[in-house]
């Protein structure tokens, strides 16, 4: 009897303590306790705890492959080897990339939240990238000097002595499809659906170790700190001074975040993202996981806007040139193709779902590729598509288009 009373009493006491000491998790007052630094600089014993070399490496690999896709002297095997690099193979111009055990393909459509139990779609998506590469090497490269026409790959020059575009039989620039789709399938998917996910941040004993500031073996960071930094690296990893990013430093998220924020309708989006990364990281240092996850949601929302805004921008851009300047229109549509592809890797805050499902994205793409593809498109089709995309977000077609 006495024991029971004691138990009840201590349970009550424990409850009170719990409420007292954990209530910071509940209220918003906590925001006052955790302060983000001015730059993305975090240290332990005067040494930086920030490391995302693997992300910098992959962005550099993606850049080299992006350039290689414009070199008609290369063959499919060479390009494939750059996409699915194996440690030690001389696939790149830079030794450190060749020595790296990282590659692009294994992290394409590979996030914990979307693909760990969906290897079937992951395989299909990886195969799409293999297809872009094969198409460029086997359809477009051999037709490099030919003039393209409906159903025939080759080149097409923009009006007024403009840029020459190298397109497939359906008008698609495979290199554009590759770059803009990779922005979603690799960078965005890894940030939003992998490294910012509690599945990854809180895996195994990460919380306990971060709470006690137990660093990873041989490292200066806790595993949780590192996971967050890896998310950061997929956006800012190509920066000269990543702690204080200037954007526009790669052909992927960094470039297109710069483009989006340059549109007055979306001014400040870059600061919102940067601030959320900083505060979330500071929250990890302060063991405030609720604040951390709130920042992750902000990043998810804002980064998910990038491919949608750019898809609408390019669809609208292409609309008026379809008949007058097909090369220019097809280039814009090739960009749009990739950005639409990337929509399936977006993340609606508070959910485990993208803004557009894979099936919806596939439907958009098949509309674009029907029959002779871009050659057959009408302005009305493009208009309908951009409204459909914008309608699911909080921006209008007009806001994205200018």
């Amino acid at each position: 009897m006495k024991l029971t009373q004691l138990k009840t009493y201590s349970a009550l006491l424990m409850g009170a303590i719990l409420l007292a000491s954990c209530s910071e998790d509940e209220g918003s007052s906590v925001n006052n306790l955790v302060e983000a630094p001015a730059t993305y600089t975090f240290e332990r014993d005067n040494n930086s705890t920030v490391n995302f070399s693997g992300q910098t490496t992959r962005i550099a690999m993606a850049e080299e492959l992006n350039s290689a896709l414009k070199n008609p002297n290369l063959d499919e095997a060479t390009l494939d080897a750059m996409f699915a690099h194996e440690e030690g193979n001389q696939d790149f111009s830079v030794g450190s990339l060749n020595d790296s055990d990282k590659n692009l393909r294994s992290k394409t459509a590979a996030s914990a939240d979307y693909f760990s139990a969906n290897s079937t779609d992951a395989a299909a998506i990886k195969a799409d990238f293999d297809g872009f590469i094969a198409g460029q090497a086997n359809e477009v490269f051999p037709a490099w000097g030919n003039t393209a026409s409906p159903g025939t790959p080759g080149q097409l020059q923009q009006a007024g002595g403009g840029t020459i575009r190298y397109i497939s039989a359906k008008g698609l620039e495979y290199d554009q499809a590759y770059a803009k789709s990779l922005l979603g399938a690799l960078m965005m998917d890894q940030i939003l659906n992998n490294y910012l996910s509690p599945t990854v941040l809180d895996e195994a004993d990460n919380r306990m170790e971060n709470g006690q500031k137990v660093v990873a073996e041989g490292k200066n960071y806790t595993v949780m700190e590192h996971k967050w930094d890896e998310a950061y690296g997929y956006l800012y990893g190509a920066e000269a001074t990543p702690a204080n990013p200037s954007l526009g430093q790669d052909s992927f998220l960094s470039k297109y975040l710069e483009r989006v924020k340059a549109d007055a309708d979306f001014a400040g989006i870059d600061t919102d993202i940067f601030d959320a990364f900083k505060l979330g990281r500071a929250a990890i240092v302060a063991n405030d996981y609720e604040l951390r996850d709130a920042q992750a949601e902000i990043i998810r929302e804002k980064i998910s806007m990038i491919p949608a805004i750019r898809a609408v921008y390019y669809l609208e851009d292409a609309k008026d040139d379809l008949n007058t300047d097909p090369a220019r229109a097809f280039h814009a549509l090739s960009e749009a193709y990739g950005f639409i592809y990337s929509l399936q890797f977006t993340r609606q805050p508070g959910t485990n779902s993208p803004y557009f499902s894979k099936a919806e994205v596939d439907a958009f793409l098949s509309t674009l590729m029907e029959n002779n593809g871009f050659w057959d498109l009408t302005p009305a089709t493009l208009e309908a598509m951009s409204s459909q995309i914008a309608s699911r977000y909080s921006f209008t077609v007009a806001e994205a288009a200018n």
Binding site: I17, G54, S119, T120, A123, A204, G211
Partner: protein, 372 residues
């Protein structure tokens, strides 16, 4: 000043005390579930009976091998193959228990590493001198090596028999076959003897919640096996989930061809049976991690995790049932069927590794080697 000095550490203690629920910090267990009964059921009704069965199967396999080497013909070969499959099926109920002596002697590494290394096997046969216990031979021994020796050394039965009769190295091959089975039997006896000796009591009395207690090790071994031995090795790796292209020659029992599905279904059945504490002989069931989870969650009024896990394992089984008997064949005709099976198996990993372990308040003792 003094008050602050006092308050800060006090606050720290409160914080640690009150917020440590998500951490795992010691040997005490806070519930009244009979953990010893769970371990006893695992040892007495599942592990020891399965190992006993395996030793019997391997003894039968040895007799069949002796008949075969004395008179290699279609009849003795057929009998040898049958007994190999019997033992291989029983093995599916053992591989997950990488604990105690099995862990110490790297039992599983010497019993079922595939793909088997044909070059190493043939070099061993050619030289006639080998140490089957060294790590270098892990992929030249055990069930997969026998798969090659019984099904892969010739195009058809006649050619296979030739390898044991008129081929120049026939004598060495017969010796290698005998040595492999001898070794498998020896290792299995070592593990079984330990269970029948002192280890059983040590095992069932290790009921704490620490990184080295039986309750923690056993569930970690089980989940690790489910994730690696079953999900990855049998399905994911051959289906190319972890590589650039599918690898149809990585299936279990590659040389016999038609058995990969049967073995995988057995492994899945073994996993379901263990989770639910069903006796190896099929006669009833006892306390298990399933009943432990049900016990804890009902106290908290949480949804039925045990049912969710069993349901998902059932979905995985239905998906696996649709596969071709020969997984290499399945990969060639429609690899999507393989990846779908993988995906259903993976969905249970999340339930086991996150939800179940959180419910049991047990830490994962391994992490995915997915560095970046």
């Amino acid at each position: 000043m003094k008050l602050r000095n006092l308050l800060l550490p006090l606050l720290a203690i409160f914080l640690i005390l009150a917020c440590s629920e998500s951490t795992d910090d010691g040997g005490s267990t806070s519930d009244d579930f009979d953990r010893k009964a769970l371990l006893e059921n695992a040892a007495d009704n599942i592990i020891i009976p399965a190992l006993t069965q395996l030793v019997e199967d391997l003894e039968d396999l040895q007799l069949a091998q002796q008949d075969f080497t004395a008179t290699p013909n279609t009849t003795t070969l057929a009998s040898l193959r049958t007994h190999w499959l019997d033992a291989y099926m029983t093995w599916q109920y053992i591989e997950m228990f990488n604990i105690g002596k099995a862990e110490e002697i790297l039992y599983a590494f010497q019993m079922n590493i595939y793909p088997t290394n044909v070059t190493d096997i043939n070099n061993n046969i050619a030289s006639g001198t080998y140490d089957l216990s060294i790590p270098n031979n892990n992929d030249a021994v055990g069930f997969p090596a026998l798969d090659y020796l019984l099904f892969g050394v010739g195009q058809d039965e006649t050619a296979i028999l030739t390898a044991y009769t008129t081929a120049t190295d026939a004598q060495n091959r017969k010796q290698y076959l005998a040595d492999l089975i001898d070794r498998m039997l020896e290792l299995s006896n070592v593990v079984l003897d330990d269970w029948n000796g002192s280890y059983r009591d040590q095992f069932v009395n290790s009921t704490g919640n620490t990184a080295t207690s039986s309750v923690n090790l056993l569930i970690n071994d089980f989940i690790f096996y489910y994730e690696k031995g079953l999900r990855a090795n049998k399905i994911g790796i051959p289906a190319g989930v972890f590589s650039t292209t599918p690898l149809p020659d990585r299936v279990e029992a590659y040389y016999s061809g038609e058995l990969s599905k049967q073995l995988s279904l057995a492994a899945l059945h073994a996993s379901e049976a263990f989770f639910n504490g069903r006796a190896f002989n099929g006669m009833g069931s006892g306390p298990s991690y399933a009943s432990y989870a049900t016990y804890l969650r009902n106290n908290n009024g949480s949804e039925d995790l045990t049912a969710a896990i069993n349901n998902q394992l059932g979905v995985a089984r239905s998906q696996m049932n649709q596969l071709d008997d020969n997984f290499s064949e399945q990969i060639s005709t429609s690899n999507q069927m393989m990846t779908r099976t993988y995906d259903e198996l993976q969905r249970a990993v999340v339930l086991l590794k996150v939800d179940l372990l959180q419910t049991l308040n047990i830490s994962v003792d391994y992490v995915d080697a997915d560095g970046d």
